[in-house]
Symmetry: C2
Subunit: 207 residues, 2 copies
């Protein structure tokens, strides 16, 4: 089956046509410009309100068995988790969500700031910390310059925690490829959420 | 010797009179209101400019042997490091600086956002993440609610990295006591920077 799928985040729509993913800015994109049937999830309350008015946009959130998850957990995280068997799923967008799955069981997860959010955070603390991150940082060496000191603060702390679970690491989300420079043995799977969405659609026999 | 000491941070002056520490907002405090001799360090460029005009304010930064450190390393971090023999020094203010010292040798360090900066970061990513942190979080349990998910993202990542050095942990700075709830075996030493300043003053025979 070839489905049109959409994952709405805080800042962008990610539309998957079965082959490619298209990113559209929340501010600029008009969802009514799509007239075909499209299955979606959304963590963006403002966009959700809009999409509810459109008959061809079908929210699949209600078809998820949420008993395994927690009430305020983002539907994007749930879809990613639904797609894997045993892994740490690192979804790097505006936020970096980290979810642990063992034998199809969701063990829990945490939320870390995304690349852009963290860059702003350091900049706002002090103009002396206004650097882009060094993705080529050697995590085994304690930093001795400011750029590496913030890069290590951002990456190594996250890395230490993620690796402590001794599970394969799957990277997804807009910054997945960038983060693979830090998580060198991780698998990048940019379609993970869409795979989860497909499984939910199939299970619910929506098409 | 009883000295008047001052550590100027990004947002506050911390003045130590030998017994107590007084915190004054950078925006509100007039340094000319102090007429006695006072030794200071400053990471705040705007305040530094003001203090250079005042004869009784003595900047001790130039008396530090900086060959062991790196050029842009904050003088406050250097003073804290000068005060310890072997430890991980966690200085929790606007930023959380983490410095590793082994047998009086500075091994390097990193910079992590402070409590208030990180709270704002999560809030700015999404209104759904606008929570105060849970300092009573059990770091051994993967979170299953939003407040714990951001608290774990902030604390556990930092904790995992800090503890990996297998050294005693010393907490200092404005949020030291709060962070002791996370670093349960850490020593809180709010006067660490002032101890380092005293050692520098003594070595330089300034008084």
């Amino acid at each position: 089956m070839k489905l049109l799928l959409c994952d709405v985040g805080n800042t962008s729509y990610y539309i998957f046509d079965g082959n490619n993913t298209y990113k559209k800015e929340v501010e600029l994109f008009n969802p009514a410009s799509i007239t075909e049937k499209i299955y979606y999830i959304s963590v963006n309350a403002a966009v959700s309100l809009k999409l509810e008015q459109l008959d061809n946009w079908i929210n699949i959130a209600k078809y998820v068995d949420k008993t395994h998850y927690y009430e305020t957990m983002g539907i994007d995280r749930i879809c990613a988790v639904e797609a894997v068997k045993s892994a740490v799923v690192v979804d790097a967008g505006s936020a970096i969500t980290v979810d642990v799955v063992k034998n199809k069981k969701f063990e829990g997860g945490f939320i870390y700031p995304g690349v852009e959010a963290m860059r702003k955070t350091y900049k706002n603390i002090s103009p002396a910390l206004d650097y882009s991150f060094n993705f080529d940082l050697d995590l085994d060496i304690m930093p001795k310059n400011s750029r590496d000191a913030i890069s290590y603060g951002f990456f190594k702390t996250l890395y230490s925690e993620v690796m402590s679970h001794n599970l394969p690491v799957i990277l997804t989300g807009g910054n997945a490829s960038e983060l693979q420079k830090i998580f060198k043995n991780a698998i990048v799977d940019e379609k993970l959420i869409f795979d989860g969405m497909k499984q939910i659609i199939k299970k619910a026999e929506l098409c």
